[in-house]
């Protein structure tokens, strides 16, 4: 699709552990977004469950199947608008993943399972969740997309892999806690500045659209900073939601900018993935790695 389309950044405050209430909120926002002409509505990480779940994980987990009572209304809503929703996914063998699904035309187009589960500092995801094992771009009616969830995007190989897999639209879904209240960045916390910075950098260096949708609200004393962001392939911020407040921010996406940016800065054309592969193979096979320990 080379014509313009509208993306909606749904910066929500999920109710912890209450899938039913969050589902209703998703449907409500989808209706509201429809009025704004949104074609693709993106929700944050774990938007259907809330973040600090701990042992609520198995209580809120769902299978992304059309028969599931929580899933059916979302698929129905996706008949008129593509949706990216965050949820706890349970697989057939009862492993639990932090997943985000791309729904469109009444079906599940793609599910990304969070690969990097932060388990340090305040984070304890590795205790409760199973790590996903891959990054795959996928085709949509808007173009080829790739999803990364919060910590995934802190690893620079993630957007690179999605880019190499053909993604022109990078969708970052987050539940990013607010911490660090120095005076460098007025009104935003230190990590907000970092995420905003790397989202802009990725969009610029990958000459792609990047959408970062972060949640807001407070759980267990932890605030989430919001500040959802859309960056054009030229690295310009084309939409930004407020910090700390719920918001639904629509923005026009112009696929023509991809073409223009890649002429101006032909990094994709000149990229040498085989060199990357060779060098990585060499690096991983060399004894030197062990000596460094």
């Amino acid at each position: 699709m080379d014509s313009q389309f509208t993306v909606g950044l749904a910066q929500t405050f999920p109710r912890l552990g209450d899938v039913e209430a969050n589902l209703q909120r998703h449907l409500e926002l989808a209706r509201e977004a429809q009025g704004l002409g949104v074609d693709l509505l993106i929700f944050p990480e774990l938007s259907l469950t809330g973040y600090t779940l701990r042992e609520l994980v198995p209580h809120v987990a769902i299978r992304p199947s059309p028969e599931h009572p929580m899933w059916k209304p979302l698929l129905e809503a996706s008949a008129s608008m593509a949706l990216v929703v965050g949820f706890v996914e349970e697989d057939a063998r009862h492993r639990f993943f932090a997943s985000s699904a791309f729904l469109d035309g009444g079906r599940v187009v793609h599910v990304h399972r969070k690969v990097y589960l932060p388990t340090y500092g305040l984070f304890e995801e590795g205790r409760y969740l199973c790590a996903g094992d891959g990054f795959r771009a996928f085709d949509t009616r808007f173009g080829r997309c790739g999803i990364a969830i919060c910590e995934d995007a802190w690893h620079i190989s993630t957007p690179y892999l999605l880019w190499m897999d053909g993604a022109d639209y990078l969708i970052f879904c987050s539940a990013s806690p607010a911490y660090g209240v120095g005076t460098e960045q007025e009104g935003a916390t230190a990590n907000a500045a970092t995420v905003t910075q790397f989202t802009k950098t990725y969009a610029t260096l990958l000459t792609s659209y990047a959408f970062h949708v972060n949640r807001v609200g407070v759980e267990e004393g932890i605030s989430f900073w919001g500040g959802s962001l859309a960056v054009s392939p030229r690295g310009q911020v084309v939409a930004q939601a407020p910090y700390f407040e719920e918001a639904l921010v629509p923005l026009e996406v112009d696929p023509g900018l991809l073409r223009a940016a890649r002429q101006r800065l032909p990094l994709l054309r000149d990229e040498k993935p085989l060199t990357v592969l060779h060098e990585l193979s060499r690096i991983l096979s060399e004894e030197r790695r062990h000596d460094e320990r």
């Binding site: 198995p58 500092g121 305040l122 806690p177 607010a178 911490y179 660090g180 209240v181 230190a190 990590n191 407070v218 267990e220 004393g221 932890i222 605030s223």
Partner: protein, 277 residues
């Protein structure tokens, strides 16, 4: 139907060994040889007294009786029997004079509020005795009470170390019998004795025998509500129990700290409680 009664049975000598050792080690590491506990004459505090006496020696355990003017006289008699059997140090401090001035000031206070005030007055006495006696406060809340939230926050729930917190009421009774708590104490209806005629089971509208099974299946066995109902328990009861567990989660956690820095206590600052000991 799963035999939950069998699941609630424990290796009593092993549990006794673990609890006695935990009391001794955890108090000892902070440089304490002595303990203090509120002794009501009920099965929980009596068992805690027996375990503490075994861990620290009876001469190092101070039992504090804290009656209120309406407390059942039997309670004090049962507590004195435990003190006599074990040879504990003991003191009686009546809380009537502490709480009545507040009750007089606030004449419309509900029974529940008055009960909470009394539980917190007892906490004040215990922590003062802890300082005076040079021993840490040993808790007496069991797992059933903690899960159902049947306790007063910063009142009877306050302690330095709690040997009973991982034992359901049913298991408290089993262990109490094994260590020699008088049968009379084990058999009487459990009561917080905050007002005449109060019983735990009457106030909560359930029986420990039944609720312990449901809790064990939901918590220890990680069964879903639907599975527990499928095992023959009433759906309304199972839901009520789980709601109580959910609603009282806050009582089992330290107060919420509003996070701003990158090293918040309990989130990123996760030192062990036994740090440096």
């Amino acid at each position: 139907m799963t035999n939950v009664d069998a699941l609630l049975q424990q290796d009593i000598p092993l549990v006794r060994r673990l609890l006695v050792s935990a009391i001794r080690t955890e108090l000892g590491r902070f440089g304490f040889k002595k303990g203090v506990l509120g002794l009501s004459g009920g099965v929980d505090s009596s068992l805690a007294a027996f375990l503490a006496a075994e861990a620290l020696g009876p001469e190092n355990v101070r039992a504090v009786l804290m009656p209120y003017r309406t407390s059942a006289p039997d309670s004090a008699a049962d507590a004195m029997e435990v003190i006599r059997l074990l040879g504990l140090n003991h003191v009686t401090i009546d809380i009537t004079g502490m709480v009545e001035p507040l009750f007089a000031q606030l004449p419309n206070m509900s029974q529940r509020r008055r009960g909470n005030v009394m539980a917190r007055a007892r906490m004040i006495v215990l922590y003062d005795q802890s300082e005076e006696w040079g021993g840490l406060v040993i808790g007496t809340s069991n797992k059933t009470e903690l899960l159902l939230g049947y306790g007063t926050l910063f009142g009877d729930m306050a302690s330095a170390v709690n040997p009973l917190g991982d034992l359901y009421k049913t298991q408290v009774r089993q262990l109490a019998r094994a260590v020699g708590v008088p049968e009379r104490i084990i058999a009487k209806p459990p009561s917080a004795d905050l007002w005449p005629g109060q019983t735990d089971e009457g106030e909560m509208g359930l029986t420990y025998a039944e609720v312990d099974k449901v809790l064990y299946l939901l918590v220890d066995e990680r069964r879903t509500l639907a599975e527990v109902v499928g095992m023959g328990f009433s759906e309304a009861f199972v839901r009520q129990v789980w709601r109580m567990v959910q609603r009282n989660q806050y009582k089992r956690c330290p107060p919420t700290i509003a996070k701003v820095s990158s090293r918040t206590l309990d989130w990123e600052f996760r030192m062990p409680r036994d740090w440096g000991t």
